[in-house]
Symmetry: C2
Subunit: 209 residues, 2 copies
DNA sequence: ATAAAATGGATAGCATCACTTTCCACTATC
DNA sequence: GATAGTGGAAAGTGATGCTATCCATTTTAT
């Protein structure tokens, strides 16, 4: 298969495929001449995957490359991939380190301890969460405190279901792929469902009054 | 208060404040001379809000402006704000309309019907969700089907808690503000917690084997 | 056999976005 | 009266994610 068919099969324009090749999101095809190369099913899959991470998951090209790299790097245990892939998927941000920040960090630690979660200190989700909580505090949206437990409970149940489903797969590669896809696309699914449910609840409340 | 103090109080650089003023994220101050204006507490609050939507919520400047506009526009019922604000917060995307897309749209309709959710056809979360599901299908990640119910259940419970907490507030403005902030920042909180819970579950599974 | 189309690869260009910088006439403060 | 700060306009910047152009070389169609 050459580039035109790769484009047709995936819906990705040829110039974009060339760009992704340059950026290392998709490996080069097998060279058969000075200006000829062959692509296979693996390239189709990889390209679809890259597109999903970038378009639906909202990852940057750099993050997507890193996630894909980890996904296909041998030597990692299946579940180790989860951590690594997650870390790659969190974009770096700068945080405002004030009083609200310190309190938020403490709150996150407390929540993790209370739940008994085993989370490495390096997990970037800690900081992202702390940043979000600090922001809410700075806006005097302190009601979040009572909802936080509900959120955590929810997240825990979800994670249990997800891990269970994902590990039910056979081979390592398949698990790795599922983890990456689910982490990235799952956020969008969850956020959408939350919005739909919110509209429903608010509509009902509106009618009831 | 003049711009320097506004900057000090919020941590937002002066040029950025000027930019936000130009873009209409923050209303102009009260003019007291050809090159003098006064800002008040309302400006501080609005600026913090704008920053939160952009930085933590990841909204574009245009989306943030629209969300803020709706938030402070009179004449909307409290809960009507939820819908309007949500719509403003969903960025427009193009969708690949193939077979997987059609099936995904049908699936979303089915899910909404099954749950008995009352959701307007115009709600952009429908399309976002369909797009995500279509993507998973195109990647042959069909296991999502069995998890979808779990996700929906989760979203519903969350929404119930959120609406309840938010409407417990007194005035309309306060509700509107909470809705916008929670919609935007809540996504981040939820996503972070999900990642933390995932690491915990996978760590435990790894140790158990 | 030959003309037209496609290929891989390199390089440069482009549009968007979210700011920054620079400039200005003017005002406030030391 | 010097210095710093102000609001506002306009132009500039850096990052990002593509597109467009060009080229020598196949491949395909006629």
């Amino acid at each position: 298969m050459r580039i035109a068919e790769l484009s047709r099969r995936t819906g990705v324009p040829i110039p974009t495929i060339k760009y992704y090749l340059r950026e290392g999101l998709v490996p080069a095809g097998e060279r058969t001449g000075p200006n000829q190369a062959q692509y296979g099913e693996a390239h189709v899959k990889r390209l679809k995957l890259a597109r999903a991470l970038v378009e639906v998951g909202g990852l940057s090209i750099a993050s997507a490359r890193e996630a894909l790299r980890l996904m296909f790097s041998a030597g990692l245990s299946e579940l180790d991939t989860i951590g690594k892939a997650q870390y790659a998927m969190t974009p770096a941000r700068e945080y405002m380190e004030d009083e609200a920040w310190d309190e938020a960090v403490a709150e996150v630690d407390e929540l993790i301890a209370k739940r008994g979660w085993r989370v490495k200190p390096a997990n970037p989700a800690r900081r992202t969460l702390a940043d979000a909580l600090a922001t809410l505090r700075r806006l005097d949206q302190d009601d979040y405190f009572e909802l936080l437990d509900s959120y955590a409970e929810t997240a825990e149940r979800l994670a249990a279901d997800e891990i269970e489903t994902v590990t039910r797969r056979g081979d390592v590669d398949s698990v790795a792929e599922a983890v990456v896809v689910w982490t990235a696309v799952g956020d969008t699914v969850l956020a959408s469902l939350r919005r739909l449910a919110q509209e429903d609840k608010s509509t009902r409340l509106l009618e009831g009054s």
